[in-house]
């Protein structure tokens, strides 16, 4: 039960970290880096966009890239504390 939830937080952290390291990244590259199925990837991406952790930018030549928002960056900074809190309280 607990490990499933930690995995979810870890997946989010990994996606955000990948975007941060690349500054901007194409959806296909992020999909490969995330090691998720396309369907799961889509769910996570939609969730992260809805939560305003990441932003999808489309250039003039319709090239799509993901970038990290301030909120996403804040999450990464506090990830360890949040994880520590969640695990210490069995949430």
């Amino acid at each position: 039960m607990t490990s499933k939830k930690r995995e979810r937080l870890e997946v989010i952290r990994d996606i955000l970290n990948t975007i941060k390291q690349n500054r901007e990244i194409k959806p296909t590259r992020l999909l490969y880096a995330s090691n998720l199925s396309p369907q799961m990837f889509k769910e996570y991406i939609n969730e992260l966009i809805a939560k305003e952790f990441i932003k999808l930018e489309i250039s003039d030549n319709e090239k799509k890239t993901f970038t990290l928002t301030k909120k996403g960056n804040d999450f990464l900074q506090e990830y360890k504390i949040i994880e520590n809190f969640v695990e210490n309280f069995g949430l």
């Binding site: 506090e78 504390i81 809190f85 695990e87 210490n88 949430l91």
Partner: protein, 219 residues
């Protein structure tokens, strides 16, 4: 004059202080956890935060119940409802993943939590009409017995890495014992003030323990 006599003599001042302490602790926990919820959108944190929000309101309503004569039944129903919901929220914060779905936009009113609301209102209203506390006591004893078991399992599984799991389990045992003592005080000991004082002490220890845990884990 012994301690218990002093406490009994200054009952209303100490009741106010007791409520203020617990309400303040609850609000600190709510504010701290709310910040982490807004960053992580983690449902466990959200239900945990709700539990302490309802604990805070419950203890405030409990204090007002002592003063209110004209609206005493309404206030009693309200304070029972808040305390029962607090127990449900804390319990649900540990098991939410088993029932999680993507459509839960609100943690106060969603398809699962509405069941808890209906149960809490029903129990509080029946207790109010019957002029008793028994349904609240029974529901909370059952809820915290389950919560104690879950927190014990969490402690056994991960105690080496996460130190507060042990204190969480101890906290649940404290709340469980407080509810059992409440039930005994009401049904067997005719609201014996010594037992009530001890329940108050147990409650304060529980809330300080969780405040300590929240502050330490979020430092």
């Amino acid at each position: 004059m012994d301690l218990y006599s002093v406490v009994t003599e200054h009952k209303w001042i100490l009741e106010a202080l007791y409520t203020l302490i617990i309400f303040s602790i609850c609000m600190v926990i709510v504010l701290k956890t709310d910040r982490f919820f807004r960053l992580s959108f983690h449902n466990g944190i959200r239900y945990f935060r709700n539990a302490f929000l309802f604990f805070g309101f419950g203890f405030l309503a409990r204090y007002l119940f002592g003063f209110s004569e004209q609206f005493s039944i309404a206030v009693k129903i309200m304070f029972e409802y808040f305390l029962i919901m607090a127990g449900f929220f804390l319990f649900y914060s540990l098991i939410w993943k088993k029932f999680a779905s993507t459509e839960e936009h609100s943690s106060l009113f969603n398809s699962k939590i509405i069941i808890f609301h209906l149960m809490a209102i029903t129990l509080a209203v029946i207790d109010g009409l019957w002029q008793t506390y028994n349904l609240m006591f029974f529901s909370q004893i059952i809820i915290f017995a389950y919560t104690s078991i879950i927190s014990f399992v969490n402690y056994i599984k991960k105690s080496g890495k996460y130190k507060f799991l042990k204190f969480y389990f101890i906290g649940m045992l404290l709340v469980l014992s407080a509810w059992v003592l409440n039930f005994l005080a009401a049904s067997v000991f005719n609201w014996n003030p010594i037992i009530l004082i001890n329940i108050g002490i147990i409650n304060v220890i529980f809330f300080f323990l969780f405040l300590y845990g929240v502050i330490k884990a979020t430092k």
